[in-house]
Subunit: 151 residues, 2 copies
DNA sequence: AATTTCTTGTAGATTTGTCTACAAGAAATT
DNA sequence: AATTTCTTGTAGACAAATCTACAAGAAATT
C-alpha cells in the first residue's frame, strides 16, 4: 500500500507520461518530421481503421470532437489527409483519406519509431504486454466509475 | 513488438494518464476539496521533504520553476502553506511551511485518497510495485537520452 | 570589495487544450 | 412532407501550461 499519493501508481503514471510526451516531441523534432506526435497518432488510427468517423476517432485518441477536427484540418492543410464526403451505398460518410504524401510520411516515421519505442524500454523484468493490458483495464475501469467523457 | 504507435507502451501510457488525470479531478470535485490534485501533490511532496527548495520541488513534480511558484502562491493565498525565509545557520532558506489548515486538509484528503487509488486498480495479475519501478526507470532513461528539462 | 551564481517572486506573452455553440448537410423517424 | 437525430466544420471564449524575462536578496567566488 502506498503511503503517499506522489508514490502511487496513478501519480507515477502521470509523471512518466509527461516525460514520454516530451521524449516523443524531442524525437519528432530531431527527425524533422513536419507533423506532431498527436497528428501522427491520428494517421496511425486512420491506418488501423480507415473508415472511422470523426467522432469515433475522437474517442480513440481521447480528445474532444472539435479538437480532433482541428487536427484533421491541420493534416489536410499540410496535404497528408484529404477529407471527402463519399456515398457508401445509401449512407454518406466523410472519409479521411491519407494522401500519397501522407503514406510516404507515415512510412518514413514508422521506419524510425520502433527505434524510439525501444529506446524508451527499461531493463525491468516485466512483460510489456501485461503492462499494456493493465493500462487498458485501468482506463476502462476509470472511465466507467467516474463517467469520463471528452466532449 | 507493436506494429502501431497507438498500440505501443508510450502511447498507451499517455491515454491512461489522461484518464487518471480526469479521474483525480473528478474525485477531488466530488469530495469538494478546495485544492486541485496538482496542489495536493505539492502538499504531499512537502510532507515527504519538508525542507525542499522550490527548484527541487519543481523537479520532483516535473513542472517548470515559475509554474511551481504559482502553485505555491495559490496554496499560500488559500492559507494552506506559509512561505518564510529562515536562517539555517549560515544559509538562508525559504521554507514552505504547511499551516494548521494545511495539515487538516492534507489528513482529510489522505483519509479518502486510498479509496480512490484502490478504485483505479484492475484485476490484471501483476505486481503494482514492479510497474512503478518500470515507470521510474522509463522516466530516468528518457530524461537522460532526450535531455529533458522543465525550465 | 566586486563579481558571479543561486534562489525566489512575479509579470506578461505564447501556446496548447478544452468547452460551448451554431450552422449545414444528410439520414432516420414520425 | 415535416421533424428529429447524427455528423461535421468552424469560431469564439475560456482555462491551463509553458516560456521568457527581470528584479532582488543572499551566498559563493574572485
Amino acid at each position: 500500500m502506498p503511503e503517499h499519493y506522489t508514490k502511487s501508481l496513478p501519480y507515477e503514471l502521470e509523471l512518466t507520461s509527461r516525460i514520454l510526451h516530451e521524449a516523443a516531441k524531442c524525437h519528432f523534432a530531431q527527425c524533422n518530421y513536419p507533423i506532431s506526435p498527436e497528428e501522427f497518432a491520428i494517421l496511425d488510427c486512420l491506418y488501423l481503421k480507415p473508415d472511422i468517423i470523426q467522432i469515433d476517432l475522437a474517442r480513440m485518441i481521447l480528445k474532444g470532437r472539435a479538437h480532433t477536427g482541428r487536427f484533421l484540418k491541420s493534416l489536410e492543410e499540410k496535404g497528408y489527409v484529404k477529407r471527402k464526403s463519399e456515398r457508401n451505398g445509401s449512407k454518406t460518410v466523410t472519409k479521411n483519406i491519407i494522401t500519397k504524401e501522407g503514406h510516404a510520411l507515415y512510412n518514413r516515421i514508422c521506419s524510425e519509431i520502433d527505434k524510439y519505442i525501444e529506446e524508451t524500454n527499461s531493463d525491468v523484468n516485466i512483460q510489456i504486454n501485461d503492462v499494456i493490458k493493465l493500462l487498458q483495464e485501468i482506463r476502462e475501469n476509470c472511465m466507467e466509475k467516474f463517467d469520463i467523457k471528452f466532449e
